[in-house]
């Protein structure tokens, strides 16, 4: 942990060297997710509800997913850029060091510019939370926090899968973006609006709905069932196959030689 903090400091320091660029990137990140917000805003003012979810509830859902994705992207970014670590031989250096490999890959990159998304998520929370008629008892607050943490876990798992497949292909597989970027993009609405089939896909195969949809129903009071509230915990299990794939890939690793 101490070592990670040290890495964190180094990344902070190095990113602060290019201040103008850093702030432009932060602003860019903000605007990027702001256009998603505009979409929701204009669609909801035109149609008022979608699948019986009003504007405020959709915003809450959007903010949760955005926060989870931003956190995952900030800290697990090393896996996202894994193909370049493999390609330039940096991974060989990682292998010879006497530290945990996953830890080292995590530490290769910490994207602080994602703070642009955090700020926006915070603003939307501040707007939506008082307006969506939820009585914030302890269990609801717990659900909200659990949703965010579980979201970070699922997105991280997806990044790890993405990296593991690089062991076999060296290049990153573009179509996995469907689940990472797509999960963020389409997760701004509760997954049920896409219909039964999509909801099942995101429940059983890629457990995005486990942290986004089911606990969300509990959060907004559509259900009292405690099972729905605890669904994010099941999503944690998603990490097991992810790590298995990672170890499987690691065993098959051959250096690119450069």
């Amino acid at each position: 942990m101490k070592l990670y903090l040290k890495y964190f400091q180094i990344h902070l320091h190095s990113q602060m060297q290019y201040k103008v660029s850093f702030f432009l990137t932060v602003i860019g990140q903000f605007i990027l997710s702001f256009s998603a917000f505009l979409e929701i805003y204009f669609m909801m003012t035109r149609f008022h509800t979608v699948n019986d979810f009003p504007f405020e509830e959709v915003l809450l859902c959007f903010a949760i997913v955005m926060l989870a994705f931003a956190l995952a992207e900030c800290f697990v970014r090393g896996f996202d850029g894994f193909s370049s670590i493999l390609g330039n031989g940096q991974f060989d250096r990682i292998l010879v060091r006497p530290r945990n490999i996953i830890f080292q890959v995590l530490a290769t990159k910490i994207e602080l510019s994602r703070i642009g998304r955090f700020i926006q998520a915070a603003i939307i929370f501040a707007y939506a939370i008082p307006r969506c008629q939820i009585i914030w008892s302890a269990d609801k607050i717990f659900t909200l926090i659990l949703m965010v943490i579980s979201g970070v876990v699922v997105f991280s798992g997806l990044f790890i899968i993405y990296a593991s497949l690089c062991f076999f292909t060296t290049e990153g597989l573009e179509f996995l973006n469907i689940f990472t970027d797509g999960g963020r993009e389409f997760g701004k609405y509760p997954f049920s609006i896409y219909g039964e089939g999509v909801l099942k896909l995101f429940t059983y195969i890629i457990p995005l709905a486990l942290f986004q949809y089911y606990p969300f129903l509990y959060l907004i009071g559509k259900t009292e069932d405690i099972k729905y509230m605890l669904a994010p915990l099941i999503a944690f299990l998603f990490l097991i196959p992810c790590f298995m794939l990672w170890h499987f890939g690691l065993k098959h690793y051959k250096s690119t030689g450069s």
Partner: protein, 267 residues
């Protein structure tokens, strides 16, 4: 002219080599299209009367957009050009007896065209086999199809000319990341790539339709649907032409100014 055409051919052949990437891209685009349509369908069910076009027209809009995504999305920028600028490699390009603006312009247009040519047919074919409201439909009429092709070409010129401005800005900032994000992120929304401009309130819609952004994506796709016809169509095409000329002119002028000041640090 011949030199630039050969640039075009080289880029084209180069990209045709990466077929694997094309398949992966197609799967992504297809999935994206379906998810987008399902999302719009949920809104359609909430209030069909608030829908500004028929669902079939929307399907055609989304499928054309997804299948030609490489053609009209501003964020498809050439990393080599950024690298050339920041690493100083641009000096080599400058000594060549070619106009730098035209060369980069051709490079960009060629990459976009090659990527789109590889991908658009399979996506559209599969999309036309889908069940009814989600299906890709034929153009509204022969005339609107011809105008659609013309509008797409003009849109491509506008998009590339806009991208050129981003490259040239890099001469001044040196680190392209920030300016890239800022310039590309809002464009997507303004041009109707996230939701068609018809879904926006009237004041914003009119404003964006007159801006260069509306000419990039929204206009050509609405022409295909037959939502724009007659005088409005002619007017739209002229507006596209106007923006194409203006953006190219600004780009050329700005590049000339920037190149006067460019300092290549040895190495």
């Amino acid at each position: 002219m011949k030199k630039y055409l050969s640039f075009f051919r080289i880029r084209f052949n180069l990209l045709l080599q990466y077929r694997g990437a094309a398949y992966a891209g197609m799967v992504t685009q297809f999935f994206w299209g379906i998810m987008t349509l399902l999302m719009f369908h949920a809104f359609y069910e909430a209030d069909p009367n608030a829908f500004p076009m028929t669902f079939r027209q929307l399907s055609a809009y989304i499928w054309i957009q997804q299948s030609t995504i490489a053609l009209l999305m501003v964020w498809f920028l050439e990393n080599d050009i950024f690298e050339e600028i920041t690493s100083g490699g641009v000096a080599y390009s400058l000594v060549r007896p070619l106009d730098l603006y035209t060369m980069w312009f051709t490079k960009n247009a060629a990459t976009r065209l090659a990527k789109a040519t590889l991908r658009f047919l399979p996506i559209l074919l599969i999309a036309s086999l889908l069940p009814d409201p989600y299906r890709m439909s034929l153009p509204a009429s022969g005339l609107s199809f011809i105008c659609f092709i013309g509008a797409m070409l003009l849109a491509l010129i506008i998009v590339v000319a806009y991208c050129m401005l981003i490259y040239i800005a890099t001469f001044h900032t040196m680190n392209p990341m920030g300016i890239r994000l800022v310039a590309t992120s809002m464009t997507e929304f303004f041009s109707g790539a996230i939701i068609p401009l018809a879904f926006l309130p009237t004041y914003l819609r009119t404003l964006l339709e007159w801006s260069p952004f509306g000419s990039m994506v929204n206009f050509p796709l609405q022409v295909y649907n037959g939502n724009i016809q007659g005088m409005a169509l002619l007017q739209g095409l002229l507006l596209q032409l106007f923006w194409a000329v203006v953006l190219v002119w600004i780009g050329k002028w700005w590049m000339q100014q920037s190149l006067k000041k460019v300092i290549v640090q040895g190495g």
